[in-house]
């Protein structure tokens, strides 16, 4: 998933993120996915003659949250009009921030330790949705199109990375980390499949050692992390093949065809479109004062990188091993890291807490996020005290996640009533006393007789004893 030998890829990502506000950017229509077409529209977001925009406070705050989470400088900003005709755009211009965006000069630290610069994160309005209707359903063959403006005017933040990404793997990591930040900051639900996070990739290649950048292509329609990394990989390969074959890469906008697994030309971009940007006269500049910025900053919870560090710190000076890094990333990405931290804080082995959370709780992350951390900790305590076997603990955990309740009760209901350590010792001692010959041979080195004793203990306890605990008792009696 990195460039062919001797080649280097230069990748920049533009991510459009729909903000989780109650209303649209410039009007009081609901910002809501999935409504009947053209039911969330008003004179403003339909661009009716005479209507005027008024900026939403919530959109500005969420934009600042994104900026601050990305270590950007929050600055005074100005809205511009970006003029071009397209039927999904009610006013035939998009209101967007151009040369004075609200957030500039930030960065994003990735779980692999690399850092990607963030050039800007600016506010703009979304467009409506066109559906092409016609014989083939593809754009060029379509007989006509239908337009729904429910999404028109929904607030977006466009996050533009510096072109510092070098592989499809890193591009994917950046997008997934960014998504985690957008979710953690409360700005977005991060749902790529619903279009609330959309990624475009600018890709160019050059020979290792070259300073000059190659001609770039912009790849659109990347609506999953998988599509992103496949498309970037394909595009790198395509461009390298062109240059190695003696050709020249043409500046283009390309479309990722998920079914065919390749990018296809949308249009050539030899001549830049003339958007005729100018300051939007219907809006006034935005200049959040320091107090407002600090308010927003102090209301931000820890970001994924901080949270990963917090989990790693549970493992002490040595930190978590590489093998655990994936688990750490998983629990943070899924928003389950607080369970690990709570359990470890109550004396659970960090490794156990992390493993159960990353492997078992993660299976149903949405439900697991709702689990009471105290109950979760109690369950892990039962396992750590060997009152439950690992298999039993996993079964109880699954129940806890789906239905909630007290782990002790769940265990009892499932017939896993644990034997107290004291009573187990009595049972083991009794079984040993009843079989002196086997005990002598066991002490003499016939290790496989452990199964014999364990089997008797299990029968005596109706299967409630923990195998490991029995072995521990036997070892204790051996001295």
């Amino acid at each position: 998933m990195s460039a062919p030998a001797g080649w280097e890829a230069v990748i920049g990502l533009e991510v459009h993120c729909e903000l989780r506000t109650a209303t649209k950017l410039f009007c009081g229509c609901r910002n809501e996915f999935g409504a009947e077409p053209n039911t969330h529209v008003c004179p403003v977001c339909l661009g009716l003659p005479g209507s005027l925009p008024v900026l939403s406070t919530a959109a500005v705050e969420l934009a600042m949250r994104i900026g601050l989470a990305l270590h950007c400088e929050v600055r005074p900003s100005v809205f511009h009009r970006k003029n071009y005709f397209y039927p999904d755009m009610p006013k035939d211009y998009q209101v967007s921030q151009y040369d004075e965006p609200i957030n500039v000069a930030g960065y994003l630290d990735l779980p692999d330790g690399s850092r990607v610069g963030v050039e800007r994160a600016h506010i703009e309005e979304d467009t409506g949705k066109t559906s092409h209707v016609g014989d083939t359903g593809r754009i060029h063959g379509a007989g006509y199109a239908l337009v729904d403006y429910n999404r028109a005017g929904v607030p977006l933040v466009e996050i533009v990375s510096e072109p510092g990404i070098t592989s499809a793997t890193q591009a994917r990591l950046y997008a997934s980390e960014l998504r985690a930040i957008l979710v953690a900051s409360g700005a977005s639900d991060g749902r790529m499949e619903e279009g609330s996070m959309r990624v475009d990739a600018n890709v160019s290649v050059r020979r290792v050692g070259d300073l000059e950048l190659g001609t770039r292509c912009e790849v659109k329609n990347l609506n999953s992390l998988r599509s992103l990394s496949r498309a970037v990989d394909h595009e790198i390969g395509r461009q390298v093949a062109i240059v190695e074959g003696g050709g020249r890469v043409e500046q283009q906008t390309r479309h990722w065809d998920e079914d065919r697994g390749c990018t296809v030309t949308l249009r050539s971009k030899e001549e830049a479109y003339d958007y005729r940007y100018f300051p939007e006269p219907d809006l006034v500049p935005l200049a959040p004062d320091a107090a407002w910025v600090e308010d927003v900053r102090s209301s931000l919870g820890p970001m994924p990188a901080d949270r990963r560090r917090a989990v790693v710190a549970l493992f002490g000076a040595g930190g978590a091993s590489d093998a655990r890094a994936d688990q750490v990333a998983t629990v943070v990405e899924l928003g389950l890291d607080h369970l690990v931290v709570a359990a470890a804080g109550a004396g659970i082995e960090p490794a156990l807490a992390l493993a159960r959370t990353a492997n078992e709780a993660a299976a149903d992350a949405a439900a697991a996020r709702e689990v009471d951390p105290a109950a979760y900790t109690a369950l892990l305590q039962m396992e750590q005290r060997q009152e439950l076997s690992a298999t039993q603990a996993k079964a109880v955990l699954a129940e806890l996640v789906t239905g909630g309740g007290a782990p002790v009760e769940i265990a009892r209901r499932m017939g896993f009533e644990a034997l107290a350590a004291g009573s187990l010792a009595e049972v083991v001692a009794a079984v040993v006393a009843e079989h002196p010959g086997e005990w002598e041979r066991f002490c003499g080195g016939e290790a496989k007789l452990a199964g014999f004793f364990t089997g008797h203990v299990m029968r005596r306890t109706e299967g409630k004893a923990n195998g490991k605990a029995v072995a521990a008792e036997l070892a204790k009696l051996q001295g």
């Binding site: 209303t23 229509c29 609901r30 053209n38 939403s56 071009y84 239908l146 005729r276 006034v284």
Partner: protein, 100 residues
């Protein structure tokens, strides 16, 4: 100040502005625009090296609205004014190409 607007530039600008002008219109508008632009070019005579641009007569800042939903328009009302409608949506001729 740049040269007067030519017929070709007028045609280019008309394309940008989505105006399907006839040859007659282009012949007529080009010199008229050139005349007005010649007059407007007088702004170049003002020394503005130390002058910031004015986009708004008054320096308002941070005009904001609470994030509280208000009722949207009734869909019948919205679609009643449209030249063509289908399936609750605005119908338009085929679209060639994506947005620029």
């Amino acid at each position: 100040m740049p040269a007067r607007i030519t017929r070709e530039e007028t045609a280019h600008v008309a394309r940008l502005a989505r105006l399907d002008l006839t040859d007659d219109e282009l012949d007529r508008y080009a010199p008229q625009l050139a005349g007005v632009l010649d007059h407007a070019a007088q702004v170049a005579a003002v020394d503005t090296a130390a002058t910031p641009p004015t986009a708004h007569p008054f320096p308002l800042r941070n005009v904001l609205r609470a994030d509280v939903p208000v009722p949207s328009l009734d869909r019948q009302v919205v679609l009643a004014e449209a030249p063509a409608v289908e399936d609750g949506r605005f119908r338009v001729p085929r679209i060639i190409g994506e947005a620029p």
